[in-house]
């Protein structure tokens, strides 16, 4: 079976800036695939290359096995949910949703019926006659989704679609999007800079950095076995020690200065720079004596080994230690 999307040595530069640097990957049909990275990492350009808003300078983009490297967006069976939703302000919600059918000259009655079905699917059955300006952010989001899905695309592209929503709505939409994807069986390609979002929704995640994919893996593998220092830091904010290995904040023990460490543990001393109460956990920033910043967290209220006080103040000397079993070796960038 052909991959839903395949990139082979795809290259795209804007003047002197290389946005996508000879990237190759394949996305399986029905996969929920996320492209994660900081802004300017190339993830959005990759999305635009799939949609056809950008064409590659070199390399091949295939959709369902067909080379679309020079195909304009309106001839690709791919639809996009835009970051700003891009709803047409001069049309009603129903006209927005049926736009894809109307430009393909589907009879008006069919347009109406299918448009209303799509609106029901995204729980906006009553909103058809309204204008986009009369909708809330979450409702606009749903309309954009309905509009993109009405063409029954092979692939749905989502460009940071939840970025403008508040936290609670964002979490609800994450679950809803995931359920929708399972139900429809369409390949979803989801661009985000929010690692939590990428990890919680995706089958696989590609971590982008400076135009290249640093690691393409399942969410669990990304979190537990980051391949590079960049991935270790960006996905879940692990401590990178000497650029050689990563240790997660929750695996670092904090003890009073001079305290010993168990056998087989690495031990360093340092000074607390900052302490934060974050509800479920308490978090310390420690500058070690060899001038590295290390973050350690503890569940709030949990007994600290050695019976030490959890609310250590900045300036306190502490001993940090971690077991060698929690050290994740990293490849050089």
């Amino acid at each position: 079976m052909n991959a839903a999307i395949e990139f082979r040595d795809v290259h795209r530069a804007f003047g002197a800036i290389v946005a996508v640097d000879r990237v190759s990957f394949a996305i399986e049909p029905g996969e929920f695939f996320s492209m994660l990275g900081p802004s300017g990492s190339g993830k959005t350009t990759c999305l635009r290359l799939i949609a056809g808003f950008e064409l590659p300078d070199a390399g091949v983009v295939r959709l369902g096995g067909v080379d679309v490297s020079a195909t304009p967006p309106y001839e690709r069976n791919v639809n996009t949910v835009f970051q700003d939703y891009a709803l047409f302000p001069h049309m009603t919600v129903l006209d927005n949703v049926t736009y894809g059918l109307r430009v393909r000259r589907v009879p008006a009655a069919d347009c109406r019926r299918r448009g209303e079905e799509m609106l029901a699917l995204v729980k906006l059955a009553d909103a058809g006659a309204r204008r986009p300006a009369q909708l809330s952010g979450g409702q606009k989001q749903r309309v954009a989704l309905a509009r993109a899905l009405i063409n029954q695309p092979q692939v749905l592209l989502l460009d940071e679609p939840l970025g403008a929503l508040d936290l609670k709505l964002r979490e609800e939409m994450q679950i809803e999007l995931r359920n929708l994807q399972r139900r429809l069986g369409i390949t979803f390609v989801y661009v985000t800079h929010d690692q939590g979002e990428a990890l919680s929704m995706s089958d696989r995640v590609a971590v982008f950095n400076r135009g290249r994919i640093e690691q393409l893996d399942s969410p669990q593998s990304l979190y537990t076995r980051p391949r590079t220092a960049f991935v270790a830091r960006f996905v879940g904010g692990a401590n990178v020690i000497d650029e050689k290995y990563a240790v997660r904040a929750e695996h670092i023990e904090v003890a009073g200065a001079g305290a010993g460490a168990p056998d087989g543990a690495v031990r360093v001393e340092g000074t607390i720079i900052d302490t934060q109460y974050q509800g479920a956990v308490r978090r310390w920033q420690v500058r070690t004596d060899d001038d590295q910043m290390i973050t350690a967290t503890r569940p709030e209220g949990a007994a600290t080994p050695g019976g030490h006080d959890t609310s250590r103040e900045p300036g306190t000397r502490v001993a940090l230690s971690w077991s060698r079993t929690h050290m994740i070796p990293l490849a050089a960038d």
Binding site: A51, G52, F53, P72, P73, Y74, V78, N79, T80, F82, Q83, D84, A86, L87, F88, P89, H90, Y99, G100, V103, R104, R147, A148, N151
Partner: protein, 304 residues
């Protein structure tokens, strides 16, 4: 606290008062100088002129309007001017749109600045110089004729000039020539509002349209044009009303038929018939009002 700060604080706490104080002077100026004089003029259209003494009879009457709309010569002027204004507006919109679209969507940095300056540059030079220059360009011995002859297209021009209504002995003395000068003259007033409207259309809307399967032509008719319509409407108000009111271009270039502007100029000047001049001035206002109502009904302002 200094005195200045005390005054500032006083007004900061009484914002409504501050707003009124700031607005009253400009509103007084606007109200008296613009609207006041306009209404004074319009009021004159309800007076009439005594045909024997040629003095103005200051009694409210519709006599002047009856004269305006029943005398074939006057009606001709209204129809001629209105037709020209419509033709000029349509042509200006058709020429302006691609330029405005390029300025708003594609030109970047210096190119964009260049285009904006280039569009406005002709507006900074003398209007009269441009009109007289056009008379020379369009004359029988003018550069345009010479150019067309050099390319063997003089036959086309002659055929055009033989056309009834728009033709004449030369471009400089035909309605066609007048039309060309009007379009040239008002083009910037059409380009700038359309460009401003297009600047406000997010690029993602055009991407979304293409993404949903619309060809570039479909995107233009269904998304770009509807969203730019308020700009086209604004630009057409300029081109329409400027054409309706102008009296210099029709008197320098074109066929001898009268236009509203010339009529107003003549009636309030040499003829001394201020009521008729005022009544003629009402016609453009009426036409623009009708035009705006039609544009509104056609949905030109839905995207605002």
């Amino acid at each position: 606290m200094t005195a200045v700060a005390a005054v500032s604080t006083f007004f900061y706490r009484r914002q409504t008062l501050a707003v009124y104080l700031l607005l009253v002077p400009p509103l007084l100026w606007f109200g008296t100088v613009y609207l006041g004089s306009l209404f004074a003029l319009l009021a004159q259209s309800f007076y009439s002129i005594d045909e024997f003494t040629a003095t103005i009879v200051r009694k409210l009457t519709l006599k002047t309007y009856v004269q305006l709309f029943t005398q074939p010569a006057n009606l001709d002027i209204v129809v001629r001017t209105g037709t020209m204004a419509i033709a000029v507006t349509i042509a200006a919109a058709v020429v302006a749109f691609p330029i405005a679209n390029y300025m708003a969507r594609y030109a970047r940095g210096r190119m964009k600045a260049f285009f904006y300056v280039a569009v406005m540059l002709p507006m900074w030079t003398s209007y009269l110089v441009k009109v007289y220059a056009w008379r020379l360009i369009l004359a029988k011995e003018g550069i345009l004729n010479w150019f067309l002859t050099a390319f063997g297209l003089d036959g086309v021009l002659e055929a055009l000039l033989r056309a009834p209504g728009i033709g004449g002995p030369s471009l400089a003395s035909s309605y066609l020539g007048m039309f060309i000068v009007f379009v040239y003259m008002w083009l910037p007033y059409m380009i700038l509002p359309i460009a401003a409207a297009l600047e406000r259309v997010p690029g993602s809307l055009l991407s979304a349209s293409a993404d949903l399967g619309a060809t570039p032509a479909q995107t233009f008719w269904r998304v770009t044009l509807p969203l730019a319509l308020p700009g086209v409407a604004a630009g057409s108000i300029f081109t329409f009303s400027l054409t309706l009111g102008d009296y210099i271009i029709p008197s320098v270039v074109g066929a001898p038929g009268y236009f509203i502007g010339m009529m107003v100029y003549q009636q309030q000047g040499t003829a001394g018939n201020i009521p008729l001049a005022a009544a003629f001035s009402v016609v453009p206002i009426l036409l623009i009002t009708i035009y705006l109502m039609l544009a509104r009904r056609a949905g030109a302002f839905d995207a605002l």
